[in-house]
């Protein structure tokens, strides 16, 4: 049964040093406010999981929260590199970052396996690529009926799964729509979960193509107005493309990055 609490209490109650944490949202509905709260609470040694690390993971990595990154595409969409991610990988700053690298299809299926209570998923993927040689969590598996060899990837079961959504009702049932990505799977795969929402409403009137996450399957719901900025919340805000472009400059330099985080997040 989801408890509706403040963002600070939710993150404080959920995320511990050393945890594996997944913040999902595929371009849309990225839970920036929750990520910033993790930074403010100065969590350390996190294993961060996310298909597309995006700017929020650049910030978490640059602030030294992460020990390891499990991902499939680490760029600034439409802009270029994530400079804090690159600095950590290329130069170990502010600390070295281990990578566990997959493809989108592999990551999506790893969440599906986690949400399904299975230890692994099967897909047609990775065959012939150099990823298969670098990533220990990619193995062959044989079909017991046809003998065909496919690829297995292990389930993702983060300690904490965090997503952002449009709204929740007072019982903690959550409704999200637009591009819903892999959010249902990320929440259901996680041991504990938090959904930040734009607002709490009396009733979740049906919306086409909406996903509903029942309150009884969640740990916490917290209001975080505009909590996806500079990503967006379909029907509530638009993507701040200028910020994504500006981030390229802000993040390129270590000091400028630190100053920006100091004045905007901490």
């Amino acid at each position: 049964m989801a408890e509706i609490v403040s963002l600070a209490d939710a993150v404080g109650g959920l995320v511990r040093d050393g945890d594996t944490v997944a913040l999902e949202g595929f371009t849309h509905l990225i839970p920036f406010a929750a990520g910033h709260e993790i930074i403010r609470q100065r969590r350390r040694d996190l294993t961060l999981v996310r298909m597309t690390p995006d700017v929020i993971y650049d910030q978490l990595i640059g602030m030294g929260c992460a020990r390891r990154l499990v991902f499939s595409w680490g760029g600034n969409p439409g802009v270029g590199s994530l400079h804090r991610l690159r600095d950590a990988v290329e130069n170990g700053w502010p600390r070295p970052l281990e990578l566990e690298e997959h493809s989108h299809a592999g990551m999506a299926n790893r969440y599906v396996a986690g949400a399904s209570g299975l230890p692994f998923a099967v897909l047609r993927g990775y065959v012939g690529t150099d990823l298969a040689g670098q990533t220990a969590t990619i193995r062959p598996i044989e079909c017991p009926f046809t003998g065909e060899v496919l690829t297995a990837v292990p389930a993702l079961t983060p300690d904490v799964g965090i997503v952002h959504a449009q709204r929740a009702d007072r019982a903690g049932n959550v409704q999200l729509w637009g591009i819903t990505g892999v959010q249902k799977e990320a929440v259901l795969a996680a041991k504990r979960s938090l959904v930040t929402v734009e607002e709490i409403v009396d009733e979740l009137t049906p919306v086409p193509d909406a996903v509903v996450l029942p309150g009884w399957a969640l740990t916490y719901v917290a209001v975080a107005r505009n909590g996806s900025h500079p990503s967006y919340t379909h029907g509530y805000s638009t993507r701040d493309n200028d910020f994504y472009v500006a981030w390229d400059d802000i993040s390129r330099d270590r000091d400028r990055f630190a100053a920006w985080m100091e004045s905007h997040v901490l």
Binding site: F71, E90, G128, I179, T180
Partner: protein
């Protein structure tokens, strides 16, 4: 009407899409080319973005793979696992459109890292995204990439997505079901995989481009088809539509 090499590249890529094809589109040049095609000769082109939008019909160019306009105009919005498992993996997609940081003689694609080794790369690139499975499972793959010696290398530093491996028979041996990246469209011309050798071969040069210019922009001894043709230049309509698209 004058035009830039990038405009020629984009127009050439749009022409590679036949009407009613189902197209798995990445953001950037692939998306621009696909939307240009939809507005010119291929009004029934079906666009699938990996964010889960099936049949998106954006009025303006999306700036990210998950723009709201894709959801608003799609026939259906499905989850990311579904778009990969139910739509891409079984081979329902006719054309996959990919970019590349490096591409080699056999059309293998690198978007992972350059220089050094995997643990200590000189340049860390974004990584795989949806590309490995797009390259594996689409019926055919079109690559759009600017042609220069940094990008066109004898052997990619990292095989993120498999083209033709080390040559003929490799895709079959690996069990890859799509035909692979048979077409590479650049700002200088069009390269196609030779049906016998799988080697990328210059089959079209864009107007005003000397095949030797393409050869010196390539990090291997690029073969030029004996009957190399000249790409028809962009029509005024194509250019007008493209520029209008890019304004928005």
């Amino acid at each position: 009407m004058s035009y830039s090499p990038d405009e020629m590249m984009c127009v050439a890529a749009s022409r590679a899409l036949r009407d009613r094809a189902v197209c798995f589109v990445g953001i950037g040049l692939p998306s621009t080319a696909a939307n240009l095609a939809r507005r010119t000769h291929a009004p029934h082109l079906v666009l699938i973005y990996e964010s889960g939008t099936l049949g998106a019909k954006p009025g303006t160019l999306p700036l990210s793979i998950g723009d709201g306009i894709l959801a608003d105009t799609a026939d259906s919005v499905v989850s990311v696992p579904e778009v990969f498992n139910y739509w891409l993996q079984p081979g329902r997609v006719d054309v996959g459109f990919l970019g590349a940081a490096q591409i080699d003689r056999y059309a293998n694609i690198n978007t992972t890292m350059i220089g050094g080794d995997y643990q200590h790369p000189k340049v860390r690139l974004p990584g795989a995204g949806g590309a490995p499975e797009i390259a594996a499972s689409c019926r055919e793959v079109v690559v759009i990439v600017r042609q220069n010696r940094r990008a066109f290398v004898e052997r990619v530093d990292f095989v993120t997505s498999v083209g033709f491996g080390s040559g003929p028979g490799d895709r079959e041996r690996l069990g890859l079901r799509g035909a692979g990246p048979r077409t590479v469209i650049t700002d200088l011309g069009i390269l196609e995989a030779d049906p016998a050798t799988c080697e990328l071969t210059l089959t079209h040069r864009h107007p005003g481009v000397d095949p030797d210019a393409a050869r010196s922009a390539t990090g291997w001894d690029l073969r030029v088809a004996h009957d190399v043709r000249t790409t028809p230049p962009p029509t005024p309509e194509e250019l007008a539509v493209l520029r209008k698209l890019q304004q928005t």
